[in-house]
């Protein structure tokens, strides 16, 4: 890892901490603290633990945000990120907090609603990247169609009206395993993004690094998007279309009503009295 390209901002935090922490170690530490806090927050039925976990999570997130903010405001992307300003942090914080809500809330319908909130704030983040089309499509498809179906199913499956949620909803099944797997995966992604040769947000960089004007022309332009999709990704697009059609037909086949078997009532069906 080349420390030369590392922005000076890491140094500020390093100075505060008084350790030799690099950007990497700092983020990995934040990931680990986040994992512990999420584990504590996952519903065990112990209230105090989850409050402590929430506090820890806010600290980890806050630390991560400070580090990220300093890194961005001094780093090579500073000029590109500036227009997004405070909105990025606000919406990112909402997205992360409600993502925790999705996995931690004991009542499934609230989980689904938190999921809607995640979708909306991610859409806001996409708008900050000038990808309005992606943002609106995310809202229409996820919030408007898929999650409505979730809410529909949850409404049918879980009792409303003051009846407490079922045990399997109130206590998470395998919190340790889930947290371990997900955060090891997260740590791996962070390591790859910040520690490898690609150094930084490759996704965020593509539109931002080239400046907003260029981004408006290429990434968000609807015509350009369509042309690109059909010129370079025609086969995957068609395959996805065929897959969707097949699943549509399958859904119709599964849900189709079968003719009921007509059973002629016999003498045995009449209660003998």
């Amino acid at each position: 890892m080349d420390r030369v390209r590392r922005p000076a901002a890491g140094g500020t935090v390093r100075g505060i901490l008084g350790t030799g922490a690099t950007m990497n170690n700092w983020l990995l530490a934040a990931t680990a603290v986040g994992a512990i806090s999420l584990y504590l927050m996952l519903p065990h039925g112990r209230r105090r633990m989850s409050q402590f976990g929430a506090l820890l999570g806010v600290l980890a997130l806050g630390g991560g945000f400070v580090e990220l903010g300093l890194w961005l405001s001094h780093g090579p992307l500073a000029a590109a990120v500036a227009p997004a300003g405070i909105f990025f942090y606000v919406f990112a914080a909402i997205a992360l907090a409600s993502a925790v809500g999705v996995v931690c809330h004991p009542r499934p319908i609230y989980c689904a609603l938190y999921f809607v909130l995640v979708t909306l704030s991610v859409a806001a983040l996409l708008i900050l990247l000038l990808a309005e089309f992606m943002a609106v499509v995310l809202i229409v498809i996820y919030a408007g169609a898929i999650l409505v179906t979730y809410v529909f199913v949850i409404m049918l499956a879980s009792p409303g009206g003051g009846i407490p949620a079922a045990d399997y909803d109130r206590v998470s099944a395998d919190p340790l395993l889930a947290v371990l797997v997900s955060f090891v995966f997260l740590g791996m992604i962070l390591q790859r993004l910040f520690g490898g040769p690609m150094d930084g947000f490759m996704l965020a960089r593509a539109p931002l690094a080239s400046g907003h004007a260029a981004a408006a022309g290429s990434f968000a332009g609807l015509a350009a998007l369509g042309a690109n999709l059909y010129a370079h990704y025609a086969l995957p697009l068609e395959l996805a279309g065929i897959l969707l059609t097949i699943s549509l037909v399958g859904a119709v086949m599964i849900s189709r009503k079968h003719e009921p078997v007509v059973r002629i009532l016999g003498a045995a069906d009449v209660p003998a009295e």
Binding site: E132, F152, G160, G161, V270
Partner: protein, 423 residues
């Protein structure tokens, strides 16, 4: 730049204020229309001709008791009215109310006499994805209904919420496809640009303005049907039908929380009407006499001064009001659908028809690009043929009738096992 931003902000506040007062009077209009159609007088006690009735209604709503049922989910019960009113009011942001105000126009002296440094679109925001924004807001409005139904802890509300979900998801598909057909022909998703593209005349059919209702009547029919369903208006008001569900999803609501549901329904109506006017009915375009008002035919000045903007604004609102009257007219004319009829209409008729409309639109856009054909006349012909074909199919298709007679014996309507059994 900041000045223009503030101008948009002020316009947004003006529009929200105007909207809420218009909604109050729409409720009066609805009651008066209902009375007129049923040969009654309607509200006529408060003020001259009952014109102060909305104020009395408002006071009544505020003074009523706020009631939360004992077994309601409190948080969601309070959240639902907020969730339903927010997207209903957001949809207004992208409606082109009055064309474009030219650069250099002044504010009147008593407002500071500020000069617009550049052209000002008379709308709150003009994003590239205007049509999609309208769709997104419409798709979010279902949450309020669903939450209200579930959180009330009442079976009537719950059934209303269930029906609402199924209905709104189903009718969203043809709605989106009909909007897409229009957008494909116009080549843009900005509502303002689509309106501007309608401010001309057919070159093949004389004197017919090139509004999208005349270019793609099938798409218009689909769109109107779907916004009726999305706004939960009759004949698609199964969600709140009194005979079966008391009040549907808002059975348990009272006071201002109930008023918010009411406001949201009317706001959705106005949004639907405004989108219909902007996309299908020519927006601010006043046919035939426009050449007298705006000299320089055939292309009209799309960018005007204050006079033009105010005239366009008035024309747009007049069309919106006519369309809203159409809503009320339909409500007192058509009976409510049965639930299976509702679903069959969406999935077996509207969705195939909207796919056909979309294919036609795409085909003629392609032909227009290839050779110089007049796509408008051909699209009109194609749409009429499509509608005629649908009607013919409906008559000839060997499907089962949903209204067939069922034998009682051995069906689920049989009163008790064995009672009707023949020996």
């Amino acid at each position: 730049m900041l000045g223009i931003f503030i101008a948009h902000l002020v316009f947004a506040l003006l529009m929200v204020g105007m909207l809420l007062s218009v909604i109050a009077y729409l409720i009066l209009l609805e009651r008066k229309t209902a009375a007129w159609m049923q040969d009654r007088l309607g509200p006529n006690r408060v003020g001259p001709k009952g014109l102060l009735q909305p104020l009395a209604d408002g006071v009544k709503f505020i003074l009523k008791e706020e009631f939360v049922p004992a077994n309601a989910d409190r948080i969601l019960f309070l959240l639902a009215p907020i969730v339903i009113i927010t997207p209903a009011l957001c949809g207004f942001a992208v409606i082109p109310w009055g064309g474009v105000l030219g650069a250099g126009a002044h504010l009147p002296g008593w407002l500071g006499g500020w000069t617009f440094p550049k052209n000002f679109s008379v709308m709150v925001a003009n994003p590239r994805i205007g049509v999609l924004f309208v769709i997104a807001m419409a798709s979010l409005s279902v949450y309020g209904v669903v939450l209200a139904g579930w959180a009330s802890g009442s079976k009537y509300s719950f059934l209303g919420g269930l029906r609402a979900t199924a209905q709104m998801i189903s009718y969203e598909i043809p709605l989106v496809l009909s909007l897409l057909s229009v957008a494909v022909v116009a080549g843009t998703l900005r509502l303002g640009a689509i309106t501007d593209s309608q401010a001309s005349y057919f070159s093949t059919v004389f004197f017919l303005p090139a509004w999208n209702i005349f270019i793609q009547p099938a798409a218009f029919l689909l769109f109107v049907t779907c916004i009726f369903a999305e706004a939960n208006r009759a004949p698609f008001d199964l969600v709140e039908c009194e005979q079966e569900l008391v009040g549907g999803y808002h059975t348990e609501y009272s006071s201002m929380k109930f008023a918010l549901f009411f406001l949201a329904e009317y706001a959705a109506m106005i949004t639907g009407a405004a989108v219909a006017v902007a996309l299908f009915l020519g927006g601010w375009h006043l046919p035939w006499i426009d050449q007298l008002i705006y000299p320089g035919a055939p292309g009209q000045p799309l960018v005007t001064g204050w006079g033009g903007v105010i005239l366009k604004f008035v024309v747009f609102w007049a069309k919106v009001m006519l369309f809203i009257f159409f809503y009320m007219w339909v409500r007192w004319t058509l009976p409510r659908f049965r639930f299976d009829q509702l679903m069959n209409l969406a999935w077996r008729t509207l969705i195939p028809l909207s796919l056909g409309t979309f294919l036609l639109a795409a085909l003629f856009v392609y032909l227009r690009r290839e050779g110089a054909i007049e796509h408008r006349g051909w699209l009109l012909l194609g749409n009429v043929a499509l509608l005629a074909g649908t009607v013919a199919m409906n008559q000839l298709w060997p499907g089962e009738s949903t209204n067939r007679r069922l034998p009682v014996f051995n069906s689920r309507y049989q009163s008790a096992a064995g009672v009707l059994r023949p020996n």
